[in-house]
């Protein structure tokens, strides 16, 4: 993997306000570039805000929409990873993460696990994606996953098996859990465990970019971080505050850790595929009752 410098843009988007959020992106991209970043990563739905409900059709964009031109233009300077709601030609709305390089979409990931329980109601307004893929970038093989995707350990397993050296996680994670004898938010504690676990067990970099601010009383806690392949936190943004944080992702630690702990080499993809296919076939009958 080519060594590179990454910036985490922990922003506070306005809910359903594309114009405001575009300006926020351009400002952060500019500052990330000035800070020497090769890639800047934004949170989930960074362009639209999160709890959209009926605002979804107002802010959803096809990827060739002219309103994205300024972002594409900005990506001629550094690569830009951002979140939006993509409208397909048949008018479905999908939560999306895009990787822009030199004005082009290198890859778009659609959130595969929509979250529809507790305080979440995504499946009412949005459609889910159907693929989990790693892709090549000038800075190694990477993969994007969106928030709830990462609460299903299989997605990280798939992109690791697909060769991702860097897993980019884009989140709008609500902060909750201020009691129970802990001194950090319950949701933050879980995310930090997830990031460290995936980085360590898949022996790759995990980049988690979470937003801050409030929407209708719900806080987003930030705490964006980059975790190295040995589980060490390389950079972390403060909780609750807007920030732009930099980290260098180098190949040498990947090589060293994969030599010490060749989990990735030994992963039996054939076995996984066979067993999942068997289970899926059986589940088909189980689900049908």
């Amino acid at each position: 993997m080519q060594d590179f410098r990454l910036a985490l843009a922990q922003i506070r988007p306005a809910l359903g306000n594309l114009e405001h959020n575009l300006a926020l992106h351009l400002d952060n991209i500019e500052r990330a570039a000035t800070g020497g970043a090769d890639v800047v990563v934004f949170p989930e739905q960074s362009l639209t805000g999160y709890f959209l409900s009926d605002l979804v059709p107002d802010v959803a964009l096809p990827r060739d929409d002219a309103r994205l031109d300024s972002l594409r233009e900005a990506s001629r300077k550094i690569d830009v990873v951002f979140g939006f709601v993509e409208e397909t030609s048949d008018h479905r709305f999908l939560p999306a993460a895009a990787y822009l390089h030199r004005g082009e979409f290198v890859h778009v990931h659609h959130k595969v696990y929509l979250v529809t329980y507790g305080l979440f109601d995504e499946a009412r307004d949005l459609a889910g994606g159907g693929a989990v893929r790693a892709f090549n970038t000038p800075f190694g093989r990477q993969a994007m996953l969106i928030c709830e995707d990462l609460w299903h350990p299989t997605t990280a397993g798939i992109v690791a098996a697909d060769g991702a050296d860097v897993i980019l996680g884009l989140s709008s994670s609500p902060g909750r859990g201020v009691a129970g004898g802990t001194h950090e938010l319950g949701s933050a504690e879980t995310w930090r465990a997830i990031n460290r676990l995936y980085a360590s067990l898949h022996v790759c970099y995990v980049v988690h970019c979470n937003r801050v601010g409030f929407e209708d009383g719900v806080n987003f806690w930030g705490g964006s971080e980059v975790v190295g392949p040995d589980g060490e936190v390389l950079a972390r943004a403060p909780d609750f505050e807007e920030a732009l944080v930099f980290a260098t992702l180098a190949d040498a630690p990947l090589r060293r850790q994969r030599t010490r702990l060749p989990l990735r080499r030994d992963e039996n993809v054939t076995l996984n595929g066979r067993e999942f296919a068997r289970i899926a076939a059986q589940r088909h009958w189980l689900d049908a009752g």
């Binding site: 809910l15 004898g181 806080n219």
Partner: protein, 293 residues
Amino acid sequence: MRPSGIGWMPAELNLRRRARRELDLDPRLTRRVLEAFIRDEIEKFGIQRAVVALSGGIDSAVSCALAARAFGPERVLAVLMPYRTSNPASRGDAETLVDQLGIPSRLIEISATVDGLLGELDDDPGPLRRGNIMARARMIALYDQSEAFGGLVVGTSNKTELLLGYGTQFGDMASAVNPIGDLYKTQVRALAAALDIPSAIREKAPSADLWVGQSDEDELGFDYETADQLLFLLIDEMYAPADLIADGFDPDLVHDLQRRVVRSQFKRRLPLIAKLSNRTIDRDFRYPRDWGR
């Protein structure tokens, strides 16, 4: 006896202990979230000021202190609204807090308003109706001060009273933003200590002070600590009433709380709208309040 995650022990100790542990608040973290909440959710509307009805009790003291820290003391107005039968000590406690926080305050007696309305009635309204009239008279004065001071109303209802329906709809339950509505009464107490709320306010028996000698716990028939534990287990942890009874909680109390929560659900929702069109407000016309902000 039944197995639990922490070894074998008398079952009734487990859930109570669990509730106590899980209700144990981190005040520093909570303050950070709540001060940011007040600032963020009010500033979005182009406003940097707040008004709080300060009764002398612990809930309004905590909301007021959080608002004063969120905006700075000069931007928060405390509104004291005693009725002639209100405990004079309540006003004294409220004034002590006003001095401590260094915030502006406004005293508005509601006796003439309330007595004027009561004088128009041709029956004896009894304590409940009188209490509701007082709470709603305060709401009128408070919302007027909101306009006059140019600040939004910061609410003072805690999660325990909201769940029990122990408040007056469109009265003390009315606010623009409520920082303490997801904190149980005992958690508000823990937060009050961290906010240096005067001990006179923290240590007195909770009272709506709607009539002389009123006490929340006497009127409700249970203490807040037990109620909080039960509500936490029922609501937050989603235990069934049978689980709690099996664990040694008083069955009558469990059922009483459960009934209160169900019965008061209407108070926690907007008025029902008869559905006629394809897009009815709040039913299928669903936009966030922070629309575009």
